[in-house]
């Protein structure tokens, strides 16, 4: 396994651009970058520029991962560039992106099922709860679109890897992979997003392990605000995610997996108000929208939250409102770098303690 960082969220990513961000990642002691989409690397799919990124990654002996975009036909209108790059034909757009990726030997390609809607707090921030089209219909449409892409992927030796994104459960991602075929699809396991679907990250890791091909390694605070739960990102090791339990599962399933830290984004890079993410964890309708969730996993999740609450007190951790206020003021370049370094240190520590096959980068 190798330890890298998110190519979109590494601080100053936009300012430095992909090539210099690779150098930046290396300076931070990391072994690779995972750019979310190939269009983020080159909006025109400029072959020369994409080759330059590949060349720099090779020179630095770093992994280079990327992806395609949203594959839910109800969400793709929110990303018009996907259709545009196919001159109006979105399947052609995906073919062009996949060919451009294959040309620089990026064959593990991230996709997602929807966009998180930061404008809303609560269930409507997640397209799972759209009122115009049911989540089941969206999943069916997604599967149908993926089936159109499958032959292209097969020709090019590509895996289209569906992220355990905020709106989708790992159960659903696994079913998508199994229905389209694991020869052309896989999973990007985001270790913290699953929390937003009331999934225990360790249980989710076990489910996705047979199909995991890319990762977003991240951690989160999950704590009660009344009878709902707040979700805030935290450096790995400082949240509820038990990497000591998850990493051996992933390493056993895919010893050459790249572990990509998805850091909290610097407020200088993306000025914004602090977005509040909540889970309506005891609301019967919200829970009913998670039909795969078992009482056993739900109980394990609730216990995890209780244990974390005790740990927050014992370690004197900053509470939710204080952290939110602090982040809005202070989470800029230095804080983002510290966040990445702290996360990396934790992942290395866990791997070392358990003798997991993580490549050690020479200082």
């Amino acid at each position: 396994m190798r330890l890298g960082v998110d190519g979109r969220k590494i601080p100053e990513a936009a300012k430095r651009g992909p090539v210099a961000s690779l150098d930046h990642g290396r300076q931070l002691g990391l072994d690779g970058l995972f750019f979310r989409t190939v269009l983020e690397m080159s909006p025109t799919l400029d072959g020369g520029y994409l080759r330059a990124i590949r060349q720099r990654a090779d020179e630095l002996d770093m992994y280079l991962e990327t992806g395609l975009g949203k594959v839910n036909p109800y969400a793709t209108p929110e990303a018009p560039e996907l259709r545009q790059i196919g001159d109006g034909d979105i399947v052609l757009g995906f073919r062009r992106m996949m060919e451009a990726c294959a040309a620089i030997d990026c064959r593990e390609l991230w996709v997602g099922t929807a966009n998180y809607k930061v404008a809303y707090v609560g269930r409507y921030a997640y397209d799972r709860f759209r009122t115009d089209v049911s989540w089941d219909e969206q999943l069916r449409a997604t599967a149908s679109f993926l089936r159109k892409l499958a032959p292209i992927a097969r020709d090019l030796g590509i895996h289209i890897n569906i992220e355990t994104h905020e709106e989708i459960t790992s159960f659903e991602v696994v079913r998508l992979v199994e229905s389209i075929g694991p020869d052309v699809t896989g999973i990007v396991f985001d270790t913290a997003n699953v929390l937003q679907r009331a999934e225990h990250p360790v249980w989710a890791a076990k489910r996705v392990a047979p199909y995991v091909r890319q990762t977003h390694v991240k951690d989160a605070l999950v704590a009660y605000d009344g009878d709902i739960l707040d979700f805030q990102m935290r450096p790995c090791g400082k949240g509820v995610v038990d990497f000591g339990a998850i990493l051996p599962i992933l390493a056993a399933a895919r010893p050459d997996l790249n572990l990509t830290i998805e850091n909290y984004e610097s407020f200088s890079d993306r000025p914004r108000r602090f977005a509040r993410l909540v889970m309506e964890i005891s609301d019967p309708d919200w829970l009913a929208a998670h039909p795969d969730l078992t009482a056993e996993e739900y109980a394990a999740y609730l216990e995890m939250v209780q244990l974390y609450s005790q740990r927050m007190q014992a370690e004197g951790m900053m509470d939710r409102p204080s952290w939110a206020a602090w982040a809005e003021q202070n989470f800029h370049y230095d804080a983002a770098v510290a966040y990445i370094e702290q996360s990396a240190a934790h992942i290395r520590e866990v791997c070392a303690a358990q003798r997991l096959p993580l490549r050690v980068v020479a200082a």
Binding site: Y224, G226, D227, L287, A288, A295, E296, Y298, A299, L302
Partner: protein, 312 residues
């Protein structure tokens, strides 16, 4: 009609006649005994009829329980068997005749205890099957007498198991004594449980509880009526005209659902209902409600105030 279940009422339990007078003095309209043995240890017909006349004179209805009918555990039904001279069925018929003399045409019973459910030597499903067999056997005698039994939502049994028993025995002879503070002990949410049981509910037991987190899950702590986690107005909405009985419970039960072994004894438990416990515990914690369980003595007056305002 709002009555009082005699057990655990402060000052009650020594003299049934004094308890009748005290019930009338509280302005309530009925008194429920745990079993007719409390009125007449020998089930003497003359004594029972005389007691009923006394209640009539005070304008009070009488109710009665039959105790546990878990025949798979002989110790639970020892007194019934003794009353039947060694035969359970004879004992049960004697008890039915006794409660009928009190005017209690729908006596309630419970199956057993949480320990029975968790028994390693006797499967809970088998215990329920034995109970069902006894009830089926008793059904013709109940029909002859124009009586029916009410199965209490006790802490060891789920609402789904109760519905299954009713379907096995017959809804004309088996109904439900709905006691919502108990359904939470099985991880069930009171309102969905009420909806499942609604067609069969003949009597409602009034009490309230709050939920607290523990290291192993949650705990039911009994509290003053109206101050707890139960939405009583919503619970009572479908049961207009159904008799309500104040029932001051005592048990402080844990629901250690963080333990896989506890969940193993809760097959079919719906996540959304477990969510009721989580929500109630989280709200109690957020509101700083950490108080321990209130005693029946502390809960009687708030209960009387609540029923006076809401029911009478």
């Amino acid at each position: 009609m709002t009555g009082l279940v005699r057990g655990n009422v402060p000052g009650f339990g020594h003299d049934p006649r004094a308890d009748l007078a005290a019930t009338a003095a509280l302005g309530l309209s009925g008194l429920m005994f745990g079993s007719p043995f409390e009125v007449s240890p020998g089930l003497d017909h003359g004594e029972l009829a005389e007691f009923r006349a006394l209640a009539d004179g005070l304008g009070l209805e009488l109710g009665s329980g039959l105790g546990s009918l878990n025949v798979a555990r002989p110790e639970r039904v020892a007194r019934l068997v003794a009353a039947g001279g060694g035969d359970l069925r004879t004992g049960l018929l004697r008890l039915l005749d006794a409660v009928a003399l009190l005017g209690a045409q729908t006596p309630y019973f419970y199956v057993g205890t949480i320990e029975d459910r968790l028994s390693a030597s006797l499967a809970w499903a088998d215990q329920l099957a034995h109970v069902a067999a006894v009830l089926r056997d008793l059904a013709p005698a109940l029909r002859d007498r124009g009586m029916s039994l009410l199965l209490k939502t006790h802490e060891e049994i789920t609402s789904a198991e109760i519905v299954a028993l009713i379907e096995a025995v017959g809804p004309d002879v088996l109904g439900v004594a709905f006691d919502p503070v108990n359904v939470v002990v099985r991880g069930e949410a009171p309102l969905p449980a009420a909806r499942r049981l609604a067609p069969h509910v003949r009597q409602v037991h009034l009490d309230d509880c709050d939920i607290r987190w523990t290291d192993r899950g949650a705990r039911r702590v009994l509290c003053a009526m109206g101050a707890g986690a139960l939405d009583w107005p919503a619970l009572l909405a479908p049961f207009s005209g159904v008799a309500c009985w104040i029932d001051l419970h005592r048990g402080e039960f844990d629901m250690p659902f963080f333990e896989p072994s506890w969940l193993a004894h809760a097959p079919g438990l719906a996540v959304a209902e477990l969510g009721f416990l989580a929500g109630a515990a989280a709200r109690a914690e957020a509101a700083g409600r950490h108080a321990v369980q209130a005693s029946p003595a502390e809960r009687l007056q708030p209960m009387l105030d609540w029923t006076r305002e809401r029911l009478r």
